[in-house]
C-alpha cells in the first residue's frame, strides 16, 4: 500500500512544464495528499489561471500516482490558497541559478508599479542596478527586466 510520503516524493520528481528546473512541490502547488481505499487524492492549486501548463501538471501527477499502483484523483482548487509566497526556499534558489529572478515576498498593501521599477537583483551578476522592461513576458508568470551593470536582460517571476 502506497504511503503519503511516497506520493510526495513522486510528485517532487515532476518538473514544472515551462520552467523545468523546479518541481511541482518546489512550486508549492500541491496543497494536500490523502489516501483512502487505494485512491490517492491530491489537492492542487493552480498558479496563473490562464497558464496552459496547468493541464500538463495535472496529467503528470495522475501518471505518477498510477505508476505507484494507486488510483489518482487530482482536485483542482479554485480558491485563493496559492500565491508566489508558497514557492519553497529551495525552489527560489533553483530559479535564481537558472537565470530567473525569484518572486519577492508579497507586500501587505496594494502593489504599485513604482515598487517594481528598480532595485531587483540580477540573477547573473547580483547587481541591483536593474530596471523593469515589461510587466509582461513570454508566459503569464514572468516579467522582463534589464540589468544595467552586466547589460543582460532577464526574466523575473511575478509576485502574485
Amino acid at each position: 500500500m502506497v504511503t503519503t510520503d511516497e506520493v510526495w516524493d513522486a510528485l517532487a520528481e515532476i518538473p514544472d512544464p515551462e520552467i523545468p528546473v523546479i518541481s511541482l512541490v518546489d512550486l508549492g502547488v500541491v496543497k494536500d495528499v490523502a489516501i483512502e481505499n487505494g485512491t490517492v487524492r491530491v489537492d492542487f492549486t493552480p498558479t496563473f489561471m490562464g497558464c496552459p501548463a496547468l493541464e500538463v501538471m495535472q496529467q503528470a501527477m495522475e501518471t505518477k500516482i498510477a505508476a505507484l499502483g494507486a488510483v489518482p484523483e487530482v482536485r483542482v482548487l479554485l480558491d485563493d490558497s496559492w500565491s508566489t509566497d508558497h514557492i519553497t526556499a529551495e525552489g527560489r534558489e533553483k530559479l535564481r541559478v537558472a537565470g530567473f529572478a525569484p518572486p519577492t515576498p508579497r507586500p501587505a498593501e496594494r502593489m504599485e508599479l513604482v515598487q517594481l521599477q528598480r532595485g531587483f537583483r540580477c540573477p547573473y551578476c547580483g547587481s541591483t542596478e536593474t530596471k523593469l522592461e515589461n510587466l509582461f513576458g513570454p508566459t503569464p508568470c514572468r516579467s522582463i527586466r534589464y540589468c544595467e551593470a552586466c547589460r543582460q536582460p532577464f526574466e523575473q517571476f511575478k509576485t502574485i
Binding site: P46, F48, M49, G50, C51, L78, D79, D80, S81, W82, S83, R110, M111, E112, L113, L116, E133, N134, L135, F136, G137, P138, P140, I144, K158, I160
Partner: protein, 223 residues
C-alpha cells in the same frame, strides 16, 4: 438560472470577450512590448473566464467549453464595452483602463461575498488583475503627459464612457465615476449607460470567428 450563475456568466463573458479583443493586437501592436503585454493580458482574462465558467457549469450541468462556445450570440451576458472592436491605440488604452477600473470595483465587492467560492475565486483573480491595472495606469500617465495624448485619450473616454458605466450594476457606478473624474482630471459626460443585456453588432462577427473551429468539428471531437 440562479442569480449566482447569472453573475458568474456575466463576468466570465466579459473576460472571454475582452480577452478575445485584446488578443487582436497580437502581432500588430505598435511595438513589441505592447504586443507581449496585450497577448499576456488576453491569456489571463481567458483563464479567468474558464475558472468562472467552471463554477457556473457545475450548477448548470455542463462544461466551461460548452458555455464559452456553444451558446448563441444573444445568450452571452457580456457588457457592450468589451464587445466593441476598436483597433485604435487611444481607444484600446481607454477601454483597458475603464474596464480594469470597473473590474477592480466589482472584484472588491465579490471578495467580501458571503459565498466562499465566489470570494475565493475573486481574490485569486485579483492577484493577476493587479498587473493589468498597473499596466493601464502606466499608459494613462503616458497619454496625459502630452497634449496629443491627452486629446486623443479624452476623445476616447467621451466615446466609451456610457459603455463603461454599463459594466457595473447601478450601485457601483458612482464609485467608477468618482475614480475616473479624479484620475483623468476632467468631468465625465452625463449620459445614460449602455447596459448589459444589449449587444453591439460586432459581437456577432466576433462570435462567428471565435466559434468557427468548434462549429466545424463534430460533437465529441477530441483535440
Amino acid at each position: 438560472m440562479s442569480d449566482r450563475t447569472a453573475l458568474l456568466l456575466a463576468i466570465a463573458d466579459d473576460e472571454l470577450i475582452l480577452g478575445w479583443r485584446n488578443s487582436e493586437w497580437t502581432g500588430i501592436a505598435p511595438f513589441l512590448e505592447e504586443d507581449v503585454a496585450f497577448s499576456s493580458i488576453a491569456q489571463n482574462e481567458i483563464g479567468h473566464a474558464r475558472a468562472l465558467y467552471d463554477l457556473a457549469a457545475r450548477e448548470l450541468g455542463t462544461t466551461a467549453d460548452e458555455l464559452a462556445f456553444d451558446r448563441t450570440p444573444d445568450e452571452y451576458r457580456s457588457a457592450p464595452l468589451v464587445e466593441l472592436r476598436r483597433l485604435e491605440w487611444a481607444r484600446t488604452i481607454a477601454r483597458h483602463w475603464l474596464y480594469e477600473t470597473a473590474d477592480e470595483i466589482r472584484i472588491a465587492a465579490l471578495k467580501s461575498s458571503e459565498d466562499p467560492e465566489i470570494a475565493g475565486l475573486a481574490a485569486k483573480i485579483d492577484r493577476e488583475e493587479a498587473y493589468h491595472r498597473m499596466h493601464a495606469e502606466m499608459w494613462i500617465d503616458r497619454l496625459l503627459a502630452t497634449d496629443e495624448g491627452r486629446t486623443r485619450l479624452n476623445e476616447a473616454i467621451d466615446e466609451l464612457w456610457p459603455y463603461a458605466l454599463g459594466v457595473l450594476d447601478d450601485g457601483l457606478r458612482p464609485g467608477l465615476a468618482a475614480r475616473a473624474q479624479e484620475r483623468l482630471g476632467r468631468a465625465l459626460p452625463d449620459v445614460e449607460p449602455v447596459p448589459r443585456g444589449t449587444h453591439e453588432a460586432e459581437l456577432a462577427e466576433l462570435w462567428e470567428e471565435m466559434t468557427s473551429v468548434r462549429r466545424s468539428a463534430p460533437a465529441g471531437s477530441r483535440w
